[in-house]
């Protein structure tokens, strides 16, 4: 079931939580809403679910599931599944009763027979690998297990749209990884349309077919994870998707200078701020004719696929972060306090942004 939002806006009192938004989600797509807290992503999800109403203004917004206009349809009739960050399981009911709830509250006409309910619940429990815990109560389960129950419960009513509000936010890193992969499999297998909210860029990029990046109640960019990472539309998106190093200085005659550092760049004269990712910084023992950016290593973290090195210098307002391959790390024999030279491989610049967005970036 495709989802289409036309001109959806939301105010809470005098604050605008969402500026008028248009969004198309295709059938069978898994879409992540990504943004810092207060960006309006959860509000948007709750409006899609029908747990929140969009503003009724002169030009009221519209929500379509396929061809069905659900703008004024109550949440219970929208045929959605909703998964909450803190699971929201019914604590006085067993796992089985939780999953069966959506089926047992159906009107007598539409309710399946009790044998069929039983079969369906166990099929779902098998899918989430919890059939052996059917008689347990939620308090007896771990966080990851509870979230799986909550997912099975939402899927029991065979929703056309599955909405997840920070589904893995309350879980520890390892369980989060596992559930993420598992949800992706489930999505591909059952082929429903899913929208999930997250503030974790890694999660959004790993899980989604397309990512909607939001800030301040606005959509900043909608793209595939790959496109989003490679060609961010603006500075906010670039900064939100990963670590960023800033280089600010004056350009004259094709040379950017900042304190005792300089760098040949092909830019017109004037004040410039350039941004680069940690992996776009190369470290050498000698300066080149292209650049002279002396730095000192202040911290080294050798965990993961690459070694993360923190760099400081008089001409830098904020320390830089560089990632180095383990072989290069050994080759250069890097150690704390060592003085080196940085060489940008690649950089980006974005037109100056308004104060508001800069502030938001800092929060993120």
């Amino acid at each position: 079931m495709s989802i289409r939002l036309n001109n959806i806006a939301k105010h809470f009192g005098n604050t605008q939580a969402l500026e008028p938004i248009n969004l198309d989600i295709h059938e069978g797509e898994l879409v992540g809403l990504l943004g810092p807290s207060g960006s309006g992503k959860t509000t948007l999800l709750r409006i899609i679910a029908g747990l929140e109403n969009a503003d009724r203004t002169a030009q009221p917004g519209q929500i379509l599931f396929g061809d069905r206009d659900v703008t004024n349809v109550h949440v219970r009739d929208r045929r959605i599944g909703f998964v909450f960050q803190h699971y929201a399981l019914f604590r006085h009911m067993s796992v089985y009763d939780n999953v069966a709830f959506g089926l047992t509250v159906l009107s007598r006409k539409r309710r399946p027979s009790s044998g069929e309910i039983r079969a369906r619940v166990f099929r779902l429990l098998e899918m989430v690998k919890l059939e052996h815990l059917a008689d347990r109560y939620p308090a007896q389960l771990s966080g990851g297990q509870q979230q799986r129950v909550s997912l099975a419960r939402a899927l029991a009513v065979e929703p056309e749209v599955l909405l997840l509000d920070e589904p893995f936010g309350a879980l520890d890193a390892k369980v989060r990884q596992e559930l993420r992969r598992w949800l992706r499999h489930l999505h591909d297998e059952l082929n429903f349309t899913s929208v999930f909210v997250t503030h974790d860029q890694e999660e959004a990029l790993e899980l989604s077919d397309r990512v909607v990046v939001m800030s301040n109640g606005r959509i900043e960019q909608i793209d595939t994870p790959d496109e989003l990472y490679r060609t961010p539309k603006n500075r906010f998106v670039f900064e939100f998707l990963g670590d960023v190093n800033h280089l600010e200085g004056k350009v004259s005659n094709g040379v950017l200078t900042c304190g005792d550092a300089y760098w040949h760049v092909d830019l017109p004269d004037g004040h410039e701020e350039l941004l680069l990712r940690p992996h776009e910084v190369r470290l050498t023992e000698q300066p080149t004719s292209e650049s002279h950016l002396p730095v000192t290593i202040t911290a080294i973290s050798p965990v993961g696929a690459e070694v993360r090195v923190e760099l400081e210098a008089d001409w830098l307002a904020q320390p830089w972060l560089a990632t180095v391959r383990h072989t290069d790390f050994e080759h250069l024999a890097l150690r704390r306090g060592q003085r080196l030279f940085a060489h940008p491989r690649h950089w980006r610049r974005f037109p100056k942004v308004t104060e508001k967005t800069t502030e938001q970036t800092r929060v993120a």
Binding site: L51, F82, H92, Y137, S150
Partner: protein, 284 residues
């Protein structure tokens, strides 16, 4: 043996002051609770078993049990419904004057019961505001058991509100939303999700309200009319015995009220313990 030694040196306990605070608590409980109850049983010892049963099964006294228990049951039931409603309103909605309403809930506790009794009696007597309205309709409140139930309901409503309120606050709105997203109507969501959650608190609150009503004296006595066999409450029977300097008789009747109250509270506690264990992960 070694366990005893470590316990003696106190090395197992990090929080200080256990001995002192526990000692004072036990002393206080002994003086305020256990000593008077022991005194009551001391009085009872003056009676033989036959005399005891004769006193507590006397016709007028038995009639007073009926009036008291009946009115208290009605009052508790009314409180269960309206107390739940009040707690619901106080927890779930935002409205101007919410804090004031919240504070008003405790008024029946703060008000001397005799003041409440006199106020209710004047209000509901034939010449009072409410009585003047109701009596022409053939509905008499003052000096009937309805008046007794009314006074009981007034003095005990905070028990229900104050026990249900925190439990309701503890229930996240998300649970409600989850039920609705699964297609439950408001009624079904309330009956199957909210009510089971607050059920133990509601029963406890209602039980406390009922027990409190059994022993209430001051608030009821002015509105009850105190007609033998009709509108006499058990607390009044105790008072009457005392006025006749029949201390043993008064104690005998008091002991009945005490046993009923204790048995009820104990039963609720045991039942609730089971329920709560299930919520927190024990075998139900």
């Amino acid at each position: 043996m070694s366990q005893l030694a470590t316990w003696r040196t106190g090395s197992t306990r990090v929080l200080p002051g256990f001995g002192l605070s526990m000692g004072i608590s036990v002393l206080f409980i002994s003086l305020v609770l256990l000593l008077p109850i022991t005194g009551l049983f001391g009085q009872l010892a003056e009676l033989s078993l036959a005399e005891y049963f004769a006193i507590i099964t006397e016709g007028r006294v038995v009639a007073s049990y009926m009036v008291t228990i009946g009115a208290a049951a009605v009052a508790a039931l009314v409180n269960a419904i309206f107390g739940l409603l009040l707690a619901w309103v106080l927890v779930r909605y935002e409205f101007p004057g919410k804090r004031l309403l919240d504070a008003l809930m405790d008024l029946p506790f703060a008000l001397p019961t005799a003041v409440a009794g006199i106020t209710l009696a004047t209000l509901y007597a034939g010449s009072g505001w409410m009585g003047g309205l109701l009596e022409p309709l053939g509905f008499q409140v003052a000096y009937t058991w309805v008046g007794i139930a009314l006074a009981m309901a007034f003095t005990s409503i905070p028990f229900v509100v104050r026990t249900v309120q925190p439990v309701l606050e503890d229930l996240p709105a998300e649970v409600d939303e989850a039920a609705m997203s699964l297609g439950a109507t408001d009624g079904v969501a309330f009956r199957r999700v909210i009510l089971p959650h607050i059920w133990p608190a509601l029963v406890t609150g209602t039980g406390l309200a009922f027990v409190r009503s059994l022993g209430e004296f001051g608030a009821i006595i002015f509105i009850a009319g105190n007609m033998p066999y009709e509108t006499e409450i058990t607390a009044l029977m105790i008072f009457v015995k005392l006025q006749e300097y029949d201390y043993a008789g008064a104690s005998a009747i008091a002991s009945v009220v005490l046993f009923v109250s204790l048995a009820l509270l104990l039963a609720i506690n045991i039942w609730q313990g089971r329920f709560v264990r299930r919520l927190h992960g024990g075998k139900g």
